[in-house]
């Protein structure tokens, strides 16, 4: 059995993962022979386990679940690239022909986004489903820590600031928006982190409605 006095304060550091590997191993060896430290560990554990619950609760990007489930259940994988390319070409052709492709009932439609020439690989669409809409973008450049993308909703002459967002892997951004049925357009600009009250540049993504 090891000396208890040297480990009295290790319990907190252990629960917070703040011991180095050697210290952690030594403390775990000590725990096996020390009822007092084991009891203290179990007494304080609920406080440490509550810490993840203290952070601001965010919505995971929808693409995360899709990627995860595609690994877990390979049958769900998205079609291969050539199929996607054909599908994308069809969507673009439809969008060019009629501006808007109606997919599903009256309340469900997809509108292709127009992207600034400066981002030749980027693209996206606005999926509208009743009173919800999701702006889905891909191949958007990472703006670093200081800058974010910001969504604007056009109401007549007014541009109303909406959410700011960062892009994930592959420059993807899935941004859930409120009801856009009375909105004249959805736009994106690049702004300082924290967002702006008025757009500081011409939109780099435009979805006229």
């Amino acid at each position: 059995m090891s000396d208890h006095t040297g480990h009295t304060d290790d319990v907190g550091a252990y629960l917070l993962s703040a011991l180095n590997d050697l210290e952690r191993q030594a403390f775990e060896r000590h725990l096996r022979g020390c009822d007092e430290c084991r009891e203290e560990l179990e007494r304080l554990r609920p406080a440490a386990e509550a810490l993840p619950g203290s952070v601001k609760q965010l919505e995971p990007p929808p693409g995360l679940k899709k990627r995860l489930m595609a690994e877990v259940e390979p049958r769900r994988r998205t079609p291969n690239r050539s199929l996607l390319a054909v599908a994308a070409a069809l969507v673009i052709a439809l969008a060019v022909a009629v501006g808007v492709s109606q997919l599903g009932g009256d309340d469900t439609r997809t509108v292709t986004a127009t992207v600034a020439d400066a981002m030749p690989r980027a693209g996206g669409q606005l999926d509208i489903d009743g009173d919800h809409a999701t702006l889905r973008l891909h191949d958007m450049p990472d703006l670093g820590r200081a800058r974010v993308y910001q969504v604007w909703l056009q109401h007549g002459e007014r541009m109303v600031p909406a959410r700011t967002f960062e892009v994930g892997r592959g420059g993807t951004g899935d941004v859930r928006l409120p009801d856009v049925r009375k909105t004249d357009g959805v736009f994106v600009t690049r702004e300082d982190r924290g967002g702006a009250r008025v757009p500081s540049e011409d939109p780099i993504v435009s979805v006229p409605l």
């Binding site: 180095n20 440490a48 965010l58 995360l64 995860l68």
Partner: protein, 189 residues
Amino acid sequence: MASDIRDLADEEVMQLVQRGDPRAFELLYDRHGGAAYSLAYRIAGRQAIAEDVVQEALLSIWRNRLRYDQTRGSVRNWILGIVHNRAIDGLRRSSVHDRRRATLELVEERFEAPERTDVEVARREEARSVRGALDTLPDEQRKTIELAYFGGFSHTQIAEMLHEPVGTVKGRMRLGLEKMRRQLAEGAA
């Protein structure tokens, strides 16, 4: 039936996961993916890194699902513990400067979950309650706990950073957790 599985408790869902049921795993993601992503984002400070952390952590859970032992705690705490370890491992590979900045500055968090469901409302309430408990701590205890848990710093690094003896830092961690435990227990009573 798809509707039946949603009535199961986490521990029962986990038994299905251990039998290799992807629907059960998806349900666990639906229940705890938000908390997992929020934790990863708080630690990593960047969306792309937080996504990678959650994906790697949950895939490791799926691949090592037989290792879950319900006598050692709840499914939620097990998942969040693995996400925490992954996120901290990633931080410890990054530069100290970046880690310090991510930890000490309040990171803008604009993808806040809308309160659409009872589960999301409950998550918000829990967050308020735990933040309340953290806020009752003396500043030096709260800061020490946050630097360790969210910043991934060891007690010796924190002692250097705050110009305090190592023993003082470890003492603050234990006392801070003790006070939080009491606050949370009083709040639950």
